[in-house]
């Protein structure tokens, strides 16, 4: 500690070490938060259901997405990314997932919402398997922290069925 530079260096290294420990503790403190997010999705309308020229089935639908994700937010949450995926089973694949809609929730104030949404991304099957197809709509959420590890969870809402005929 005999010179200006030596003291500055000691202060800086010790300060940064403590900052790292603080960040670890902040991350650990997240474990005391028990999240109980609510989500509900309804299909309001099938807007369009057709076979594309290349033989793939395509659906356009309008959903009502309502959720209360406030409990996901702690003081260490930067943002929450959510997306709605359609999941269904075909003869070829046990699980098909098609992302229909997504959003970024920047803060707790925006975590309660109920909005009608047409699918942002095409609901297109690789083939012609969608007529009369049962499917789930799954709300996935990825919680992005300011420091620490990111985690994801989902809620499956099942019991939807596509019409038997194109329209």
């Amino acid at each position: 500690m005999h010179s200006f530079a030596y003291r500055s260096n000691a202060l800086f290294t010790f300060g940064v070490t403590i900052l790292a420990i603080m960040c670890i503790m902040v991350s650990v403190s997240d474990n005391f938060n028990t999240a109980s997010p609510q989500a509900q999705i309804e299909v309001l309308k099938i807007n369009r259901f057709k076979r594309q020229p290349n033989g793939n089935d395509e659906v356009s639908l309008t959903m009502n997405i309502s959720a209360d994700l406030q409990s996901l937010f702690t003081w260490n949450t930067k943002q929450v990314f959510i997306f709605v995926a359609a999941e269904y089973e075909t003869a070829k694949n046990v699980l098909n997932q098609v992302s229909l809609w997504d959003a970024i929730i920047p803060s707790k104030e925006h975590a309660v919402f109920s909005i009608p949404a047409t699918n942002k991304y095409g609901f297109v099957d690789q083939g012609s398997n969608l007529r009369g197809q049962e499917f789930n709509l799954t709300m996935h959420w990825h919680v992005m922290p300011k420091t620490g590890y990111m985690y994801a969870d989902k809620k499956v809402i099942s019991g939807f069925r596509l019409p038997e005929e194109y329209r």
Partner: protein
């Protein structure tokens, strides 16, 4: 800065940083604000820097006492002869250089 001052400076630095980290963490948790935690910690690092890094007078309360060159010779220490200066025989000026 003298020896006692260096010890004091290091101790002050560590205590101030640890205390401010605890304060910042608790305040941030209570206010539920990560940003406030960082602001409080950054501010107290700044205060610590101003307190412990510059060579303040209170770090120099125990100046190092150098032996008088004549006395040192008695204790068997070889002393380099100072350059012949214009007639200053009675007593060598005591060198108490410090940083």
């Amino acid at each position: 800065m003298d020896w006692q001052g260096q010890k004091l400076s290091e101790m002050l630095m560590q205590i101030m940083l640890l205390v401010s980290a605890v304060v910042a963490f608790v305040a941030g948790y209570v206010m539920s604000s990560f940003k406030n935690m960082l602001i409080i910690y950054a501010a107290s690092v700044g205060i610590t820097l101003l307190t412990t890094v510059p060579d303040w007078p209170f770090f120099n309360r125990n100046p190092l006492q150098w032996l008088d060159p004549k006395e040192a010779e008695i204790h068997g220490v070889r002393v380099q002869k100072p350059k012949p200066q214009p007639q200053n025989t009675s007593k060598k000026p005591s060198k108490a250089s410090k940083k």
